[in-house]
């Protein structure tokens, strides 16, 4: 079964049909999707800016990450579920949008950056947890994360605009 076959099948499911047919479902799902994304960006930005040494310099990085990351993950899960529901309603339309592909790649890159940070850079957190200006590798991870997520929002907005 090819990708197109799968999407054609998806497009014809009763779930896709009911989202398309309803006046309310798509807007409500989209609102929840946006609310969740806003919280993903807000929480991750608070951590990223601390990693970059730009805000909250008097507080340990781990304190801010313990405070923010549950928000990030919970919101990301919600954004994904409702994003999928939006996608299901018109898979063929999204398939043809370059901004959609770029957005997915950017989310992947943001995830890879986070994974690398967690498993490499973060190992030495004991040495820079409380330092106002963390080492370059840490600041770079924060800056990259911020750049990726802002680009995700740009693509998301353009998907809705085209």
């Amino acid at each position: 079964m090819s990708m197109i076959d799968f999407l054609t099948w998806l497009d014809a499911t009763s779930l896709a049909e009911s989202i398309r047919d309803s006046v309310w479902l798509f807007p409500v799902f989209e609102t929840i999707h946006v609310a969740a994304i806003v919280l993903v960006i807000g929480s991750i930005a608070r951590l990223d800016l601390r990693l970059a040494g730009l805000i909250g310099r008097d507080r340990p990085v781990t304190e801010i990450s313990t405070e923010m990351l549950p928000w990030t993950w919970a919101s990301f899960a919600i954004a994904t579920v409702f994003g999928l529901l939006l996608f299901v309603s018109k898979p063929m339309v999204y398939l043809e949008m370059a901004f959609f592909d770029v957005k997915m790649i950017l989310i992947l890159l943001a995830g890879l950056n986070m994974f690398a940070f967690q498993h490499m850079t973060f190992k030495s957190v004991g040495r820079w947890d409380s330092s106002p200006l963390p080492p370059v590798a840490v600041r770079l991870a924060g800056g990259l994360s911020l750049a990726f997520w802002i680009s995700v929002v740009i693509c998301g907005r353009f998907i809705g605009f085209v």
């Binding site: 807007p27 806003v38 929002v153 740009i154 605009f161």
Partner: protein, 171 residues
């Protein structure tokens, strides 16, 4: 009066420029403005979330409510300034889509109430850092305000997104 203002704005040169879809720049200015608007919403929502949850007694235990208020309100005001600017730009591009839309009008009303609550946090904690902790009554009022504030901001965000779908002025 709102109708007249909307008519006047609709015929202004700024609106003509920002809504001219034959120009490449309007295809960039408006979505870019909307993107910045969303980023501003992110700053407001996370700040409001942290602040109100702290008042509700959830999270940020190491920081007092007064300290969080002093730290976060400048972020909220700066973000709101950005939201106002980008919002005005988007309104100028499509005056009647916004100003005469009942969802937009509801959003503005909710915004006034939400901003009033945020100002009250700043004023009370500046007077007394433990203001919301001095009696059981105050604590209750604080929690009620925090819950109301959270609901209001969620309402503002939802209304903002739903302007595109509901409440359009029909003539």
């Amino acid at each position: 009066m709102l109708q007249e203002f909307t008519d006047w704005l609709s015929h202004s040169e700024l609106t003509a420029f920002l809504s001219d879809t034959t120009l490449l720049q309007t295809w960039i200015i408006i979505p870019l403005s909307q993107t910045i608007h969303i980023l501003g919403v992110a700053v407001v929502m996370i700040s409001i979330g942290v602040l109100n949850l702290r008042l509700l007694g959830v999270g940020s235990g190491s920081q007092s409510f007064a300290r969080l208020t002093a730290q976060l309100t400048p972020w909220i005001w700066s973000a709101l300034a950005v939201l106002l600017f980008t919002g005005v730009l988007q309104t100028i591009a499509e005056p009647s889509r916004e100003l005469l839309n009942s969802t937009f009008q509801l959003k503005m009303l909710l915004l006034l109430a939400a901003v009033a609550i945020t100002i009250s946090y700043r004023v009370t904690t500046a007077k007394n850092p433990n203001y919301w902790d001095t009696s059981l009554d105050r604590r209750r009022t604080g929690r009620l305000l925090a819950a109301t504030s959270l609901m209001l901001w969620l309402g503002i965000l939802s209304a903002g997104r739903l302007i595109a779908y509901f409440g359009a002025f029909e003539s």
